[in-house]
Symmetry: C2
Subunit: 255 residues, 2 copies
């Protein structure tokens, strides 16, 4: 069976308070897609954050001493660094141009996931906004899933993704930061291969694989396709969580 990923056309610009599930339902209609059981909807982080009012006006942020010191080191706006600190448990690396943190949500990422692009900007710097990640992306995904399942009568999965860098490879890849109704991982330990060998290394990050696939279709340039519809996900839908994907610190060899 094939896996197909289609960007939804006609999603409007999203503002705080918007009903994302309703916007997605009408974009599905406009895209000619009737939901089926086991379909998955993948949402870019930005629209979820915007709908949840996670924009912060930079002029309202007063950086503390620590933020000012780090900002000088990493050559970033101290107000933005103040927000990064507020969104992080700890800083792993800080170098000119780069700040890598353990996000309060548990994953390791650059800039605490704080985005400076695609956020509406006023006439002057006092109206400059940045966007924090959703407060609880698993919960965001669950709410949208419930609404879309109720309106469609189908069993669905919903996922929120962002673009993450990797430790040793160049280029960002789409990565799952929250999900509902689909597994984060598929544990194939104990499965046999064609020759009857038991498989060796076999916990598969299926949500991240789907996030990367959706990211390819979504693009990064904000071309108005922040939602992707996936059909043909090859594993049974069952509930997963972002927590499943975070490597416990005692198993982390690379901090």
């Amino acid at each position: 069976m094939s896996l197909s990923l289609s960007p939804l056309t006609g999603m409007p610009l999203v503002a705080a308070g918007d009903d994302l599930a309703a916007l997605i339902a009408s974009s599905l209609g406009a895209s000619g897609i009737a939901l089926e059981d086991n379909d998955i909807l993948i949402l870019g982080q930005k629209i979820v954050s915007k709908a949840e009012g996670r924009q912060v006006r930079l002029a309202a942020v007063t950086p503390g001493q620590r933020a000012r010191e780090i900002a000088e080191l990493v050559e970033k706006d101290p107000r933005v660094v103040e927000l990064m600190l507020g969104e992080s448990r700890t800083i792993l690396r800080a170098r000119p141009g780069t700040i890598i943190v353990e996000h309060r949500l548990g994953f390791i990422c650059a800039n605490a996931g704080i985005d400076h692009s695609n956020v509406s900007q006023g006439e002057d710097a006092h109206e400059e906004f940045v966007l924090l990640l959703p407060q609880d992306p698993d919960r965001s995904a669950a709410a949208i899933r419930m609404a879309l399942e109720a309106s469609s009568g189908k069993r669905l999965g919903v996922m929120v993704i962002d673009s993450h860098g990797r430790a040793w490879r160049v280029g960002t890849v789409g990565t799952c930061i929250g999900l509902s109704g689909l597994p984060a991982l598929v544990d194939q330990r104990g499965w046999k291969d064609l020759f009857g060998h038991t498989l060796r290394s076999t916990i598969v990050g299926v949500a991240d694989e789907l996030a990367a696939a959706a990211s390819l279709v979504m693009g990064q340039a904000g071309e108005g396709t922040p939602v992707v519809h996936a059909r043909g996900f090859p594993y049974p839908l069952q509930d997963g969580s972002l927590r499943d994907m975070i490597r416990p610190i005692e198993q982390d060899l690379f901090r």
Copy 2:
């Protein structure tokens, strides 16, 4: 436009010396797929390695002193560790059950990519084989691409993938280890977003995103679908290399 990924049905078991391009061409026919310009074929590492004769009979391997010491630490077969050392530039981490290396091909991976599953096994331990990664996966991809382009008359991409773990996240994801005819990265620096902001973090690992997507369809259990056909890759085809994706060591913060 949609991205669709379809596993090829009817690929036979591959043996050393097999003509992979010819096998793929006939499986495409059996799967009812006529190649079009910009189609991409994604191959699991194992079939490429097998066709290239990269099986090693373990009984023929004599582990040296260093391999025996590391094997004791990581609790692995010293002969397999000897092969891992031969395939690696350096060991990054060695713990019971885990060995992470910089592969001679440049990327960081577990077990030097040496696979113990899906390799045919004889009646006794003297006939046990393991499989090394292809000697030069970019070159493998290029040869298969040339043959398929010649037989189809279409402009194609070909990619070789493996399953890699990640530093901080649980679960393996499909990752590109060699490619021809498609870009490894798309550099969106300087592109504008919807509001005219210049994009911030925008070198996208498109080959790895496609590798993850294909891995989802291919599965890991050796179910006989080691080749995936992708249609709708949203970027212009142009030549890329594994080398493009390896983060230079001076930019690596996490060794």
